[in-house]
């Protein structure tokens, strides 16, 4: 004994509407069919691969041309120093300015000139902690030592 599906009539009734709408959708945007979409995907993949190969090739060539000893990457900036300098450099520079102030060496002319030069350098690098640490070393060796 066969069981009849409850919505058969309903499906049959709407069949024409469904087929009409399907045919409408199928014929509507002719540009976006499967072939065009696949072609677009393939084209964008090709562009991506070519760009990737070209850029990596350029980087390899530039690194090769620069040579071993002179090889300088683009990431040459010492970001750690930049961040540290933002908060520590000013008080450190202030301390160094006191240490190498020319008035401290009033009796010794050569040291006074050296102190002036170092004071100037500290002033110029007052926001670069790395340079200030090197200058501190110079101040200690050249000015304070006998």
């Amino acid at each position: 004994m066969g069981t009849s599906r409850p919505y058969d009539d309903w499906l049959i009734m709407n069949e024409s509407i469904t087929s009409d709408s399907l045919s409408h959708v199928a014929g509507y945007p002719e540009f976006f069919n499967v072939e065009t979409t696949l072609l677009l995907c393939a084209f964008s993949c090709l562009i991506g691969v070519l760009v990737g190969r070209k850029t990596s090739g350029l980087q390899r060539n530039s690194a090769k041309n620069l040579g071993g000893g002179q090889r300088r990457e683009k990431q040459d900036v010492d970001y750690g120093n930049v961040i540290d300098s933002a908060f520590e450099a000013r008080p450190f520079a202030k301390k160094l300015k006191v240490l190498c102030h020319p008035d401290r060496f009033a009796g010794n002319e050569s040291k006074q000139k050296l102190a002036e030069a170092l004071h100037q350098e500290v002033e110029e690098n007052s926001h670069n902690l790395k340079e200030l640490k090197l200058l501190e070393l110079r101040i200690k060796t050249e000015l304070t030592d006998p």
């Binding site: 850029t55 040459d76 930049v82 540290d84 933002a86 908060f87 926001h127």
Partner: protein, 128 residues
């Protein structure tokens, strides 16, 4: 002509990558310094619209500002903000790299308050 066009496409991709790397490297270093306790404030860099009056030959057409936001939880004073900005400007490698990558404005601002500072990067390139 096709080669020229192709090179321009490549340059665009290369520049975009470099800009992203610069901002990410800065943020990474700032996070590491903050986590280790070396600095009291977390600095976060981002790309902003910039100031159109500071434009130069290499400026990016839309996003030409390099913004540093200091997450301190308080209104930073003018000398504190100035120190952060001058640290970037007195680093010749960083300031030149910023200009070459299409930035023309350096902005420093705290995460609270309305006060911020901005500099024209072209003036601090230390050329010659």
């Amino acid at each position: 002509m096709i080669a020229n066009f192709w090179n321009r496409i490549l340059d665009w991709f290369e520049d975009r990558k470099d800009r992203t790397i610069l901002v990410r490297s800065f943020n990474k270093a700032a996070k590491a310094a903050f986590i280790s306790g070396a600095v009291p404030t977390l600095l976060t860099a981002s790309v902003s619209r910039g100031d159109s009056s500071y434009r130069h030959q290499h400026s990016h057409w839309l996003y030409s500002g390099f913004r540093i936001v200091a997450f301190s939880g308080r209104q930073l004073s003018r000398p504190e903000l100035k120190d952060v900005g001058l640290t970037v400007l007195q680093n010749p490698e960083l300031s030149r790299q910023l200009v070459v990558l299409g930035f023309d404005t350096l902005e420093v601002q705290p995460n609270v308050g309305q006060f911020g500072l901005k500099w024209e990067l072209r003036d601090h390139m230390m050329i010659g």
